[in-house]
């Protein structure tokens, strides 16, 4: 079973790391609903008791696995963004790297395809608000000095990337680098550029 796991197989990974990797492998194979600590223990080549010593519950195990994947994906996106030459390039790199990282996560792919009901409360309404706030905080440093408000910008770019990846009819194919760059330059960066580019007309008292 092909599972993308960039957890470095260090000589003797500790129990927690092994349990997290095993959890992701199990979710990628059978999903969240059917996940059991027994399966995780078997996948990790250890006992139930050992897993329970590191994680008090299945929920804790899943939370740790989600956090680990979020860290990995966040690091990939930050790395891609670090080489950007300008704001257009940065936004495009972040969107493309985000798409790559998300599609590369087999566990997330399984849940999105087969257990969407479990996923969407974390993506819409209050759950979505929390997600965007977290993404804004996580990726704000990438945009610092390149736009008016780095956290606001990071949140908007995350929203755009999410729309490209999950809208019923995406604006363009999110894996097509040229197309993504074109829509980023056309629609996204003009709206998030430096303060000077925000027209004075935005002052509310000058409303038409």
């Amino acid at each position: 079973m092909a599972v993308t796991l960039d957890v470095d197989p260090t000589p003797a990974p500790d129990v927690a790391a092994r349990a997290v990797a095993a959890t992701l492998a199990c979710i990628a194979r059978t999903g969240l609903a059917k996940l059991t600590v027994d399966d995780v223990a078997r996948e990790a080549g250890t006992s139930r008791a050992t897993i329970y010593r590191a994680f008090p519950s299945k929920q804790a195990l899943v939370a740790a696995a989600v956090a680990a994947e979020a860290d990995r994906i966040g690091a990939e996106i930050a790395e891609a963004g670090a080489e950007a030459v300008d704001l257009d390039d940065l936004v495009a790199r972040v969107v493309l790297a985000g798409t790559r990282a998300l599609t590369g996560c087999a566990a997330l792919r399984f849940v999105a395809e087969h257990e969407a009901d479990l996923l969407y409360p974390h993506l819409e309404f209050a759950g979505g608000d929390r997600l965007y706030a977290a993404l804004g905080r996580r990726f704000a440093p990438l945009f610092t000095g390149r736009c008016a408000d780095s956290q606001r910008t990071a949140e908007w770019v995350a929203r755009f990337a999410r729309s490209l990846n999950m809208a019923p009819v995406p604006l363009v194919d999110p894996t097509d680098a040229d197309a993504v760059r074109r829509v980023v330059v056309t629609y996204v960066t003009p709206g998030i550029a430096v303060p000077g580019s925000v027209p004075a007309s935005l002052r509310p008292e000058e409303a038409r």
Binding site: Y120, G127, G128, D129, R152, E155, Y187, P190, L202
Partner: protein, 205 residues
């Protein structure tokens, strides 16, 4: 134009959908039975099943679609007197935010049965996006004809960007306080329309 499914007179689904809406607002999805809906509509159980042979799931799915269509009809009415394209988008966001916050049935099931509600809502995504695009496209065309849009822009694509991001904000405003007109105005003219409006046409400041 967004058209309501509710045709006066004809649609036999209408009273059943209305009754299902009332019942779900009161009891939630899980506790609403076909009998409850029939009683609320003043119809027999057999009649309700004749209109929705698939039972509760079919009825609830249709009811969510029906209420979403009504929502966007109310939105179209709320923004019809807006002065220009940016004002339409602003008005739509403000309207959606208030409606969602004050929508008792939506808030109830969102709190108790979000999985089920969001599944039904997802089924309508394409249709809603198409309807919003169809509604906005002529307005952006008029804006372009008036020279207020960046020259050479693909207006179909631009409309889809506006509709997609607008719909995203309606359900999930994130950091934006959509109750504050100044926040909405800046959001619309910066993030949403920053690459679409020809700035000089604002002719302000």
């Amino acid at each position: 134009m967004i058209v309501a499914r509710a045709e006066p007179g004809g649609d036999p689904r209408e009273p059943v959908l209305e009754a299902a809406f009332v019942c779900v607002a009161r009891f939630g999805f899980a506790k609403t039975t076909m009998e409850d809906v029939a009683r609320e509509a003043g119809l027999s159980r057999a009649t309700v099943y004749r209109v929705f042979p698939g039972g509760r799931d079919e009825l609830f799915s249709a009811m969510v679609a029906w209420e979403m269509a009504r929502f966007f009809v109310r939105m179209a009415i709320a923004v019809r007197d807006a002065a220009d394209f940016p004002a339409v988008v602003e008005g739509a966001l403000v309207f959606a935010h208030r409606e969602i916050r004050e929508h008792a049935a939506l808030q109830k099931v969102l709190a108790t049965e979000p999985e089920r509600l969001l599944r039904f809502m997802r089924l309508e995504q394409d249709r809603i996006l198409d309807a919003v695009v169809a509604y906005l496209r002529p307005m952006l065309g008029a804006e372009a004809a008036g020279g207020r849009v960046v020259p050479g822009l693909d207006l179909d694509e631009a409309t889809r960007y506006v509709a997609t991001m607008g719909l995203s904000l309606m359900a999930t405003p994130g950091r934006f306080d959509l109750e504050d007109p100044a926040v909405v105005r800046t959001l619309v003219r910066r993030e949403i329309l920053g690459g679409i409006l020809a700035e000089p046409a604002l002719d302000l400041g």
